[in-house]
Amino acid sequence: MRIKSSATRKPDFKAATANLDNAHYVLELYVAGTTGNSERAIVNIRKLCEERLQGRYTLDIVDISQRPSLAADNQIIAAPTLIKQLPLPTRRFIGGMSMIPSSFLGLAS
């Protein structure tokens, strides 16, 4: 399972790093099937994106139970794990994301 959401345009490296208010976010969420924490993670991260990044984010949802090799390639050791690829710096967050801080995305709380 690999779902891309709200992909409005291709991420532009310079634009993404220049201004966080206008930056395009590229996020990857690694889940393990439709387990409770994974579903909660999808709900929480998408709600946050819809509230704070509407129209300027790409959220890839990757089910590692279907494709474990993708977990190894991206050094994923647990699910759910969220990786912010852009804007830099790359950050990781592990768990159900019920308390995911805005600062994780580099946003003012």
Binding site: V43, A72, A79, I94
Partner: protein, 580 residues
């Protein structure tokens, strides 16, 4: 170690990387302890493996999800922000989405709600707040634009502490069931409408019947008074006005009877274009160029079995209404006649019409049109949108009555400000119907005086009875007038009176005119019998003929017609001898 960095910097970077990985490992351990991780990725000799962490809560969650997945109705859970937190497989199918693509999105992203009753929106909020649950019907319009009728059952979800944390909704698709229900409601409405019109027709017919008797009395007395007032020209002028007014009232009664299907009619095979063209000629003369009438006639228009005058009346009434609707507006009235074949699919739209061939008359105008409420009432007698004094409200009621007697149908299309279109469907003539010839009465023979011949006259309406008696006596007949049928019967059957002719009213309380005629005809088969009725139907004609009635006369009676009939029945035509 990164080659492009100085040795110290490389060590620092390596250190930072290790710290970061250590932090991630610690965070993972914390998440595992907190129960926030469902799976671990472990490198094995066979490659990376996923190990699911199956706690009690996870197992319980899995069971719940599996059970809800089996439910055939759509189940959707939302949080307090109306963001979707769960949806089952049935919901995925119903709304054409996948769970991972919907989780975390607002419910409004999934569908748009249309309320069947606007007040339900507030009722749902109030019920959820006060009772914790709500059930009702609404329409969901999905992303793809598909409208689904929903039976919705919504429950507020609360924690053990009583804190609301969202809603659980079960949405059952009842679109198919709703379609059947709508059809049933439509049929029920049509039945109700038909029963209402039937009742109105009976009521109006009953009133018209009594009114007919009164008018008959007035008209006869006018004739008698004219004779007595030969030298008084002032009185004669007044009598003339009374006569005119009574005849106008009589026309009105005929219209009411037409609505109530109680007017006599003469069926024959007629050409619809000919009937319509004659009506258009009359309409054009009446409208005197105020509105133009465009006429179109398709060569395939079939003939129908109908009363010519009544078909013309239908077109005249529809045309007059169209002209009224066009007042102050530009445009023409269009009248089109054509042949149409209705199949099963057409029947779905016009439930009263059976599949088959029809002659269709379409009267369209570009007038002010009608709203739905007006359309529902236009065929009711005395319903009019015209200002007081400008319309009787009988035009379309008469159309309705005439069409019912012809097993014809009318379909109305109209919108306020966008004109109206009336479509009339007459069943096309078939072989059986074509065989039916005209059922007309021959005109009366030549007049002569009564010469003291004895007439037995029976009518329960005393004023009318005595007015008729006086009129017949003035023509030289001797009249025995009875308002009680049984007394009259006894007098005839016991031989107390011997009469030359019997005139009886049909509609009388107790013994009807038919029963009186039957009894007397049995005893005196040669005695001519005339029956008078305001409700002459084909059925009554047949019954009257079987009971020995020679002539049926409509009410109010045309006294000259009665006079002619009396003479034709009482005075046999002269014998002719032929010399060879």
């Amino acid at each position: 170690m990164r080659a492009d960095l100085p040795p110290d910097a490389a060590l620092l970077a390596q250190n930072a990387d290790l710290r970061s990985r250590l932090q991630e490992a610690e965070q993972t351990l914390q998440a595992i302890r907190a129960g926030a991780v469902d799976a671990l990725v472990v490198e094995t000799s066979a490659g990376p493996q996923i190990f699911l962490l199956q706690g009690i809560e996870a197992e319980s969650y899995r069971l719940r999800s599996e059970m809800l997945a089996q439910v055939s109705d759509a189940v959707i859970a939302t949080d307090n922000d109306e963001s979707v937190t769960y949806l089952n497989a049935a919901a995925e199918r119903q709304y054409g989405v996948t769970e991972v693509n919907v989780l975390g999105r607002k419910l409004s992203w999934l569908y748009e709600t249309r309320w069947l009753r606007p007040e339900d929106k507030a009722a749902e909020m109030t019920a959820l707040r006060d009772l914790g649950h709500w059930r009702g019907e609404k329409v969901h319009v999905t992303h793809s634009g598909k409208a689904i009728n929903i039976d919705c059952s919504m429950t507020r979800m609360v924690t053990k502490d009583g804190m609301a944390y969202g809603r659980l909704a079960v949405f059952r698709d009842i679109t198919h069931q709703k379609g059947h229900e709508n059809l049933r409601k439509l049929l029920e409405k049509q039945l109700h409408e038909s029963q209402k019109m039937e009742a109105l027709g009976t009521l109006a017919g009953g009133v018209a019947h009594d009114f007919n008797n009164i008018l008959g009395t007035i008209l006869i007395n006018v004739q008698l008074a004219r004779r007595d007032a030969t030298a008084n020209w002032r009185a004669l002028v007044s009598l003339e006005e009374i006569d005119k007014a009574a005849r106008r009232a009589s026309d009105l009664v005929q219209q009411i009877l037409a609505f109530g299907r109680q007017q006599s009619n003469t069926r024959q095979v007629i050409s619809i274009p000919s009937a319509v063209e004659e009506s258009i000629r009359l309409l054009r003369a009446a409208l005197s160029g105020k509105v133009l009438i465009e006429y179109q006639c398709a060569p395939d228009t079939p003939s129908v079995v109908a009363d010519l005058t009544q078909v013309q009346q239908v077109v005249l009434n529809l045309g007059n209404n169209a002209a009224y609707a066009m007042e102050g507006r530009a445009g023409n009235i269009t009248i089109r006649v054509e042949g149409v074949v209705l199949d099963e699919a057409s029947m779905q739209r016009h439930h009263n019409l059976l599949p088959g061939k029809y002659a269709r008359i379409v009267v369209s105008d570009a007038g002010h049109g009608m709203d739905v409420a007006t359309q529902q009432r236009i065929f009711e007698p005395f319903f009019t949108t015209k200002p007081q004094g400008q319309g009787t409200g009988l035009g379309l009621a008469v159309v309705h009555g005439i069409l019912r007697t012809h097993k014809a149908e009318i379909v109305v299309h109209s919108e306020p400000g966008r004109g109206s279109r009336f479509e009339v469907y007459f069943p096309a003539v078939n072989e059986v119907a074509a065989a039916l010839g005209p059922d007309t009465m021959e005109p009366a023979g030549m007049a002569s005086e009564g010469r003291g011949r004895h007439i037995l006259y029976i009518d329960d309406d005393q004023p009318q009875l005595y007015a008729n008696k006086r009129m017949l006596e003035s023509w030289g007949y001797r009249v025995s007038a009875y308002y009680a049928q049984r007394e009259a019967l006894q007098a005839v059957l016991t031989g107390k009176i011997r009469c030359d002719l019997l005139v009886t009213d049909f509609n009388m309380p107790g013994t009807s005119g038919l029963e009186v005629a039957r009894a007397i005809h049995l005893m005196l088969p040669e005695l001519p019998i005339i029956m008078v009725s305001g409700f002459i139907t084909d059925e009554l004609r047949e019954q009257a003929a079987a009971a020995g009635v020679r002539r049926l006369i409509g009410k109010p009676q045309d006294m000259e017609e009665l006079r002619d009939i009396l003479q034709s029945l009482l005075i046999p035509p002269p014998r002719r001898s032929f010399l060879t």
